[in-house]
Symmetry: C2
Subunit: 430 residues, 2 copies
């Protein structure tokens, strides 16, 4: 089954990041369909026509995003109708939905939006619950096994470009539709998230176990390693005919990776460091407060991205000035004067201070030089201390890091490593 | 000049977001070159060969990203050599650079990396200052005006996929190279950033002024409106033969937009709300402290993304629990009990509290319900209060918002609107 994707929009070739490709790729992958090729073209009638014609001739399923809006430069609907040699017909039901969209917002409907009620003849309409442009699925009869190079594609799916409008359509209509039609093989995936190791260190530890493709009785296992900022993912996918066998194969492979990496793996799939840490705090009924200097609030931001975090996260203090470190957190003036605000000593006093004043179980603190200026030969940009105190457990940890990169990367690396120190402490491996 | 881009990497069709397209699109646009089409294919020999052959036959400049790594599934180098009918030759200088990369990091060089020292015969090497894969520029003589459909492309540029490695190559080598070869027309752009208005409200205010294309004596002006989360951009680009005339044209158009939108425009180009606010605080020698509840530290994070922010940003308190709001910020228990932590009254007491204890000029506070749970009929998810106090100016502001979207979107909308309230206050329009 050859699937192609076509993204339409001049802005995508001039600086706007297209996240639709990654989203659709991941969703299709989850039901065992792979995108063979993706092409991006601008809002130009001829260019759109030429790529649509090409894809129709060589692929089985075509998914387009973009170009369904109400204005003059939204051309996908019209050009698709032309290459499919079908009419655009006015759809009363769709018109009604578009009108309701505006009425619900107390807005007058611009005349232009009427264009969006024209649907390719015979298409199945995918309602848009967020915006006005409906999606469409066009099914065409093609001769099975025909070698003709003329318009071989049998399914054409047209979606709006904005992710907020496109994603619900994919989840509610497109995936169930494709799943029913095409999913035959069982395809499952595990993604393990690792922190505290570089990509090559991960590879060294697991190289005996991973291989591109391992053919087994139950089917095929595939491994890959992906590097992110301060995080490595190991992806294992299993493909086969029988769900039980695929599950078993995946389970064994996961176990092999866990045996090699143990606690470096902090979670799987949708897990984030902050959600894992949150789960540990919740289950152990512990509370946390943070004192941030170089991270400026980013640790608090991440922790509070988890719904329900108010149960364990009590307080954060961004003590950006030395004066605030002393006044609010109770860091001794002598400590700041003798060792500097960016020092092991100050970090530990910050962590102790926030734990004490917030009366939480654990205090976590960061102090460092995020740059681009402010570094010295002795304390260069990228030098960061992360401290954790947990008095009931008699725990006082402080780690020194030397990060490279820009200000934002140094902040993010600090946060990931800080959350990982907290995770390990909560697991009793601090 | 027909430019095509080819992105190589299976991960890009399975869930990894490709930011290289947007980056290259923007950079090429800045020197007057437009990407005609972008295609993404996986790490598959046949698929790469087929798209490279197609692009060579129809375009003048081809830029590839990805597939230059050291492992078995990095195929761009080899396949490109094959379609160009050129040899790969060992380059001593490149080998030396790769070996130095590992030596500098006290690492042993894996045998695999030797592959990266093989260069397409006659190619100009683009050194990689961050990683190991060198980029390449291949120039080919093609008959001027030849209508032959065989390998028309005269410039082939191959870049690594990781943005950290690719971007410096583009900025230091590729852009200057293409600029010298192709830039003839003057092309300039202004991007105005707007907050506090919806896309349609912006359009309503400027519709008399903007048009897709305005042909003038100095050249052509183009306008576009792009919507982001809680931010709208108006982009004006000017194209012409004479730099002075283009500048003048752009200047006039900017003025027209400013006349329509006035203070809704908070900045241009690289400006962010936090950098603009930082500039205002700096120039007025004012200091700021923030008290955050629903934003969890995100305001502090944004403010401290600006280098040098320690001059004006003194302190942040993330008072996530009611107890912390009372104990640390001095919000009255009665206020929390009577009006709730998410109320105009609590927001104002939080802002007053943080201003008082930090002894800064201005205190900014947020409190709200970010969801997905915690909402009630009277106080639904998305209800947010932002308060600002500035005692020396006798200023006390509190605004109520009703945001929609997910937890993260509500946090981000709050931050943008909070920073905008601060900006307006600093401009005397609070």
């Amino acid at each position: 089954m050859k699937v192609e994707m076509v993204s339409v929009g001049s802005e995508l070739l001039k600086g706007k990041i297209n996240t639709d490709i990654a989203y659709l790729g991941e969703k299709l992958d989850s039901i065992g369909l792979a995108i063979d090729r993706e092409t991006t073209v601008g809002d130009d009638r001829e260019k759109i026509e030429s790529i649509l014609q090409e894809t129709l001739n060589r692929s089985d399923i075509i998914i387009t995003t973009g170009g369904l809006g109400p204005t003059f430069d939204d051309l996908t609907r019209e050009v698709m109708a032309k290459v499919l040699k079908k009419k655009l017909v006015f759809d009363r039901e769709v018109m009604h939905q578009i009108a309701a969209h505006f009425a619900n917002r107390d807005l007058e409907m611009p005349k232009n939006n009427e264009r969006q009620a024209y649907i390719i003849e015979g298409a199945k309409v995918i309602p848009n619950k967020v915006g006005t442009a409906p999606g469409m699925i066009v099914e065409r009869k093609t001769k099975a096994g025909s070698k003709s190079k003329v318009q071989k594609a049998s399914i054409i799916i047209m979606l709006p470009g904005p992710p907020r409008e496109m994603k619900p359509m994919v989840e509610e209509v497109v995936l169930p539709y494709l799943k029913e039609k095409y999913e035959r093989k069982i395809l499952k995936k595990s993604v393990l998230h690792i922190s505290g190791l570089t990509e090559s260190a991960v590879y060294e530890k697991i190289q005996e176990v991973v291989e591109i493709e391992r053919r087994m009785e139950g089917g095929i296992l595939r491994f890959s390693i992906l590097a992110h900022l301060a995080r490595i993912d190991v992806e294992i996918s299993g493909e086969g005919e029988n769900e039980l066998l695929v599950d078993e194969m995946l389970h064994k492979a996961r176990q092999e990776i866990y045996d090699c990496l143990e606690d470096y793996i902090y979670g799987e799939g949708e897990d984030t460091l902050e959600s894992v840490v949150g789960g540990l705090l919740l289950s152990k009924r512990l509370t946390l407060a943070v004192a941030e200097s170089c991270t400026g609030g980013l640790i608090g931001d991440r922790i509070t991205d988890v719904a329900g975090s108010s149960v364990y996260f009590k307080e954060g203090i961004v003590a950006y000035s030395n004066e605030a470190k002393v006044r609010v957190l109770g860091v001794k003036e002598d400590t700041v004067n003798e060792f500097g605000a960016v020092s092991r000593e100050s970090a530990l006093e910050m962590a102790n201070g926030i734990q004490r004043i917030s009366e939480t179980d654990i205090g976590l603190a960061t102090t460092g030089i995020a740059g681009p200026t402010g570094g010295t030969a002795k304390k260069p940009v990228g030098l960061v201390y992360v401290a954790l105190v947990w008095p009931k457990m008699g725990l006082e940890i402080c780690k020194e890091f030397h990060f490279s990169g820009k200000r934002r990367e140094i902040k993010e690396s600090t946060v990931i490593n800080g959350l990982d120190i907290l995770r390990k402490a909560l697991m009793g491996k601090g």
